[in-house]
Each structure stands twice: as C-alpha cells, then as structure tokens.
Amino acid sequence: MDTRVITLCYRKIIDINSAKHWDKLVFESSYMEFKMQAQNYSHGTAFTSYADLLKHVPNAQRLVGMVTPAITGYLQQLNGIVPDLLNNVGKRFLKFNKFQFEIISSDICDQARHQVAVNFYTDTLVWHDTIADFLLLADYRPEAATDDEALSNLFKLPPYVNIHSLKKL
C-alpha cells in the first residue's frame, strides 16, 4: 500500500450553549469584539445581524479578520494541541499551528445569535493503516530513517473532523 500523508481539519463550533471553560472564553471575547467591530459597518444603517451586514454593507466580509485577534490568545493557550480530539487511550495528541476563525452567525443586539467556529488544521500525519474503525496515525517525519521506530496513535474520525488534505508518497 502507498504511504499516505494527510492533514486533518477539526471544525470546532462554539455558541451560547458551549459548556467548556475555554469555549466560553472564546464565545465571550469573540462576541465582544464582533459587537465592537461590527459597529464600524452598521454605522448609519439599521442592520444588526452578521448576515445582513455581509449582504448589504461593502467590506463587511473583513469582520472575520477583525474579530480573529480577539481569540488568538486563547489559541496560544492550547500550546499547539488540538482540543477535544482524543486517541483511543483518551489523550489529546493532534498538533496544530494553523487555524481559521469563522463567524457562522451573530448579531450586534443579540448575543444568543453568536455562533463561531475555530477550524484547527493539524500538522502532517502519516496514515499507516486502518484497523477496524481506527486510523493508525503517526507524525510525518521525512527526515527520519525508514527503519526508525515511529510513535503512533489510533484515532477514530468523529463528526466535524475531515481529512483535509492527502498526498501519496
């Protein structure tokens, strides 16, 4: 079988019902920033929802980039490890250094409509094999000798996780 090198993308959705502490911090901070920055665009209009601003106000698509600096600090607190996703012994193991913040919906006047996502893009992984429902993954280390032992993880793809890229070696 060809060796396949992949990256995963985890789309972590955060809204007013999110219960975890980190999620709540991201929710509160991103909403505050959205509310502040969106008023640069809603100024002089009756629009308050993100969807309406996108549809009717020029350059409102910049909002997502303007809100991102409100959550960068929280991303850094993760120390490069993707949250929530566990290997089969219950540990987080996926490394990331790229992310993409996304505003799904929001409203300057209604925090309950604020829903965002953080897309985590993992570092490159070698997909060695598939065992039952699990992918057998290891960090991709092109510099390592082929007979070097590689530490591996068994991982079952849950909802909101996609194989984002694939390359056959």
């Binding site: 007013i16 509160e28 901070s29 640069n40 980039g65 600096p69 850094q76 993760l78 309950a112």
Partner: protein
C-alpha cells in the same frame, strides 16, 4: 493596571448583556444535550454510534484564562519605522458636565510612513504566533482622568486624504459612542512640515481645507502636536462624547 481595567470592563459588559442571555434560556432549556453532563473535557471527538464516549484519562492541562484581544496594547508600532509619536487622547462625557470618562474603550488606527494600513488577517488560515499583522492598530481603556496613551509613529499620507488618525470610542460594554478622526495642524513649524511626508514628500498632498472628511470644519478634531523628528512628537487631543 490597564489590563485590569480592561478585564473589569469586560465583566461589566457581561453583566449588562446577561438580560439577553437570560431571555434566551427559555429556548435553550427545551433542548437537552448530551454534552452538558460532563464538567471537564467532553469530546465531540470520540462519541460513538452507540452514544458512549471514550473517557479522558488526563487532566485538562493549564486552566484557560481570560486573554485580551491582541489589539489591547499601548505600543502599536509593531515592525513599522518612522518618527516616534506619543498619542494622548483625553475623553470626557458631554452628558455629564464634560467630566472625564473613565473605563471607555478607545480604538485607534492609522497608516504607516508609506501611507499603507495593516491588513486584517482575512479569512485564510493563520498561524497562532502571528503578532505584527495589525500594525498601527491598538486599544486602550481610559483611566480615571479619561486619558489613554499610545506609542506609535507619525503617520504618513496617501492620495486624497490629509494626515489623520482614526478613533472609535466605545463604552465599557462595547457600545459605540463615537467614530471620529484626528486632524493635524499644518504650516510652518508644524510636525507635519517637519516630517514632510517622509520619503514621499508633500507633492500632491491633500490639506485639511480640501480634505473630504475635514473640509466641513475640523476645529474639534484638530490635535496639538509638539516635539521634533529627533526627540519624537507628542500628540494631544481632548474629545467630548455622549456617554
């Protein structure tokens, strides 16, 4: 201290929006979710088709703490070069006998020596260690005297506009109080003349009188700028906003 104020202001924000949150709880209690039963690290990741989840065997790690937006900084220079300029903005409340307005959030942004603004990160993927993406943009919270101070560089200029600094003032809950711009004095002996548009020069420069934003009158938006190119400049302006 500034950070503390900022944190405090966020808490005030949270309190004032809790009415909304409260109002929405009626809806949200109708839909029980399976993920609310765990207090530590539930995972969407390992829920199986049988509805059970692999339990986590390690601690959550460093407890997440509040982190202010990376706009919150006094020195907004980042990697830009130019003549140093300290920006002192004092905010008072026109609805309260023009007394100092403390706890207000003040955002400023301006262009660099070449006349370019920082781009926002956009919608592409970003690295977690980016820091200089939003050069010459910053946020501070007014102190008990209504003052915020930024360290920056004297702005350059671009076609069609006089030299200016954008200012957006919010109350502590993030509600906009005023969007405005700061204008610069012109003529012999001014900082504008001393900087002389950096390497660009002032040929084709738009002066306040013909500037599309300032031409309808800018006395209230005109700052005082002292100093020199060697010692650095100090900009001071006082603004009244209805809070």
């Amino acid at each position: 201290m500034e950070r503390k104020n900022f944190l405090k202001s966020l808490m005030i924000g949270a309190v004032s929006t809790s009415v909304l949150v409260e109002a929405c709880k009626k809806d949200s209690t109708v839909t029980p979710t399976t993920t609310t039963t765990t207090t530590t690290d539930t995972t969407t990741g390992s829920s199986s088709s049988s509805g059970c989840s692999v339990i986590e065997t390690e601690t959550e790690g460093p407890y997440p703490t509040h982190s202010p937006a990376s706009y919150v900084r006094s020195d907004i220079t980042s990697d830009r070069t130019g003549y140093k300029m300290t920006v002192n903005i004092t905010v008072n409340n026109s609805n309260n006998s023009c007394n100092a307005l403390s706890g207000a959030l003040v955002d400023i942004w301006h262009c660099d020596a070449e006349g370019n603004y920082s781009e926002y990160g956009g919608s592409g993927t970003q690295s977690t260690n980016y820091t200089s993406v939003h050069f010459l943009r910053g946020r501070q919270t007014t102190n008990s005297s209504g003052l915020v101070t930024f360290t920056s560089i004297f702005p350059g200029w671009y076609t069609g506009r006089a030299t200016h600094i954008h200012v957006h003032i919010y109350n502590s809950a993030g509600t906009s109080l005023k969007v405005t711009q700061i204008a610069f004095p012109e003529g012999t002996g001014t900082a504008l003349a001393a900087v002389a548009g950096y390497t660009k020069g002032l040929s084709g420069y738009t002066y306040n009188a013909t500037d599309g934003v300032f031409s309808d009158g800018y006395t209230l938006e005109l700052a005082t700028v002292t100093g020199s190119t060697t010692a650095g400049f100090v900009l001071a302006i006082s603004m009244s906003v209805p809070a």
